[in-house]
């Protein structure tokens, strides 16, 4: 399910919904890429670049924060726009494979530079069996 943008004056606040933590991690990363590179779903094609991420943190919030921060770091330093995420979350541990395409300013230059992911602006709620995540990207 695509992310929903919530009102915020200075930054970008988004909501994603998923049945599992794994899903909301994946959707949050997709939302991050959409914000950073102005991606449309139709632009998600073959993804020749591959990165792996392995993280351990104290709780789910910190794990998600570290994961998204790592996605920003890898995207910026490797010049990759990630278009697909295979994420496994087990309690305080995350293993992910990030698939992407090389950054092309003509295709991916329509987004925002995300400076960071707000740790405290993050809320994970359980509503009617669904995980609802709200997250703030500082831009």
């Amino acid at each position: 399910m695509p992310y929903e943008e919530l009102p915020h004056t200075a930054d970008i606040r988004v909501r994603v919904i998923g049945a599992t933590h794994r899903e909301i991690f994946r959707e949050a990363a997709q939302a991050l890429m959409a914000v950073m590179y102005g991606l449309q779903s139709s632009q998600q094609t073959i993804s020749p670049v591959r990165h792996e991420v392995h993280l351990t943190e104290e709780d789910t919030g910190l794990l998600l924060h570290s994961f998204l921060s790592e996605v920003i770091f890898l995207s910026e330093t490797s010049g990759t726009v990630f278009t697909a995420f295979e994420v496994n979350v087990l309690e305080d541990q995350l293993d992910a494979v990030l698939l992407g395409v090389p950054f092309d300013p003509d295709v991916h230059g329509m987004g925002h530079e995300v400076k960071g992911v707000s740790l405290s602006g993050m809320r994970i709620l359980n509503k009617e069996g669904q995980n609802v995540l709200e997250i703030l990207f500082d831009i």
């Binding site: 004056t9 924060h65 330093t77 960071g116 992911v117 500082d138 831009i139």
Partner: protein
């Protein structure tokens, strides 16, 4: 009017102790009635939360461009005691030493000729927008030197003039920078971005000095009516963003370790005397120095373009001043009759030191330091001077800009990039940006009036107007 605020004067409001539980000092907001209508509840609450932090001195302050931010409100200022105070990335922001510099030229508007052509040349010379990379190839050693020496590093490498250095706040380099406290990740992000403008509200603008309010100060600053100037607004790029991300996690843990009671997790902090607090300070200062070098590199590339197009030597394009507006610094201030050393956080606020301060370059010691307040795209920017009143009332601080009014989404819904470009063109302003969306989001209607923000700081005496500059051509990041 916001419920719970107490009016202290025509332009000053107090957030009384008790507005939120645990406040150690009151909050104080500089605001006009016109700006009160756009004051967000969240921003006032954030200011009140700042007032709960350990070791805060005197007041938690907010400038008239206050709006909801991360941790501190944007426009927030707070000073902490060196003995029992704290340092917090939430009081600095992700873009460490985001700041502004203003460079003079010997040109007047009619000398520019084809402004569109000039902007195209500048756009080629200054990498701009998401994913832009520098042509400069830095070694790890050079990056470390840049993080310690700031503007001086750039000047010594041939990207500037010796006179540029003293015309930067802190001579373009904060003491205490510690590259060892900057992660490899941050360094990896910083290396290819030196000399890049970035995106969002960052810009490079060709401006004309339209009106001088204080001829003596303008003469001291080297500014005259009709003069073409160039303003650069940017910060520490991915390096600074990563420093903030890394140290937020460390300080989040420090809050538990030192049992600091916080009313908002975004205010994660550590005692100034703790290893965690010192490491953040060292890394933040390193990122701040990177930002000063970054603006120096951008100015050098701008000078090269102007030299090529208009045959002006670099020496005839002096730096007027460079100010930081996202930083925490050790400064001496008078508190209750005693001169004390404090850690002053300015988050979307500008230092505005008055006459006589030794930190300010000798040529500005009589007038007070130059203060540069950028407008939003297509609107006036202002040059002001610091005052003795600011030293007494705001730890030598003033506003930093216009302050956002509309979200980016709302701005884009209201007006298209093309409409904004056409409307600016009707006023003789040329805009160049990576994509039309970047223009729509930064449309003048998305911001508070910079003129009203500046009126408030001028009339309340925390800085005084020297000159108004109007845009001729804008490169949006």
């Amino acid at each position: 009017m916001q419920e719970g605020l107490v009016r202290l004067g025509s332009l000053v409001w107090e957030v009384p102790i008790g507005f939120v539980p645990g406040m150690r000092v009151p909050g104080r907001i500089y605001l006009s009635e016109a700006l009160m209508s756009s004051l967000e509840d969240g921003a006032v609450r954030q200011l009140a939360n700042v007032a709960t932090m350990p070791g805060i001195v005197s007041h938690a302050l907010a400038m008239p461009d206050i709006h909801w931010g991360y941790g501190f409100p944007i426009g927030g200022v707070a000073a902490f005691s060196m003995e029992d105070g704290v340092i917090s990335p939430g009081g600095v922001g992700f873009d460490i030493n985001c700041g502004v510099r203003l460079m003079g030229t010997p040109l007047v508007r009619k000398d520019l000729g084809d402004v569109r052509g000039l902007l195209e040349e500048l756009y080629r010379a200054v990498p701009t927008g998401v994913g832009a990379k520098s042509s400069l190839r830095l070694s790890g050693q050079a990056l470390d030197a840049m993080m310690v020496q700031g503007s001086s590093w750039a000047e010594q490498e041939g990207y500037g003039l010796p006179a540029d250095i003293r015309r930067c706040e802190d001579a373009g380099a904060m003491a205490g920078a510690d590259p060892a406290a900057v992660s490899q990740k941050a360094k990896q992000r910083g290396m290819p971005q030196a000399g890049t403008l970035g995106a969002g509200n960052h810009f490079l603008e060709v401006q004309e000095v339209k009106e001088v309010y204080d001829p003596a100060a303008a003469a001291a600053f080297g500014v005259r009516e009709g003069q073409v100037c160039v303003m650069v607004h940017c910060g520490s790029r991915g390096l600074g963003h990563q420093v903030c991300t890394d140290h937020l996690l460390t300080l989040e843990r420090a809050v538990k370790k030192y049992q600091i009671a916080l009313s908002d997790r975004q205010l994660a902090c550590a005692p100034l005397s703790s290893p965690e607090g010192k490491a953040y300070y060292g890394a933040m200062a390193a990122a701040a120095n990177y930002a000063w070098a970054n603006r120096q590199l951008i100015m050098h590339n701008t000078r090269d373009v102007l030299r090529r197009l208009y045959h002006i030597p670099h020496e005839e394009m002096p730096l007027i001043y460079d100010v930081a507006h996202n930083v925490a610094k050790m400064e001496e201030h008078e508190v209750e009759g005693h001169r004390v050393r404090l850690c002053v956080h300015r988050k979307g606020a500008t230092r505005a030191f008055g006459p006589g301060r030794e930190e300010v370059a000798a040529e500005f010691r009589e007038t007070g330091q130059p203060v540069i307040i950028p407008g939003s795209m297509g609107t006036s920017s202002f040059l002001l001077k610091g005052t003795a009143h600011a030293m007494a009332a705001t730890f030598g601080s003033t506003c930093h800009g216009a302050g956002r009014l509309l979200s980016r989404t709302a701005a884009k819904k209201e007006i298209s990039g093309r409409e904004v470009t056409e409307s600016l063109a009707r006023n003789g302003i040329v805009v160049k940006a990576p994509h039309p969306g970047a223009i729509a989001e930064e449309a003048p209607a998305a911001y508070k009036s910079s003129a009203e923000v500046v009126r408030v700081v001028h009339e309340s005496g925390i800085s005084l107007l020297v000159a108004r500059l109007e845009p001729i051509g804008v490169i949006k990041g």
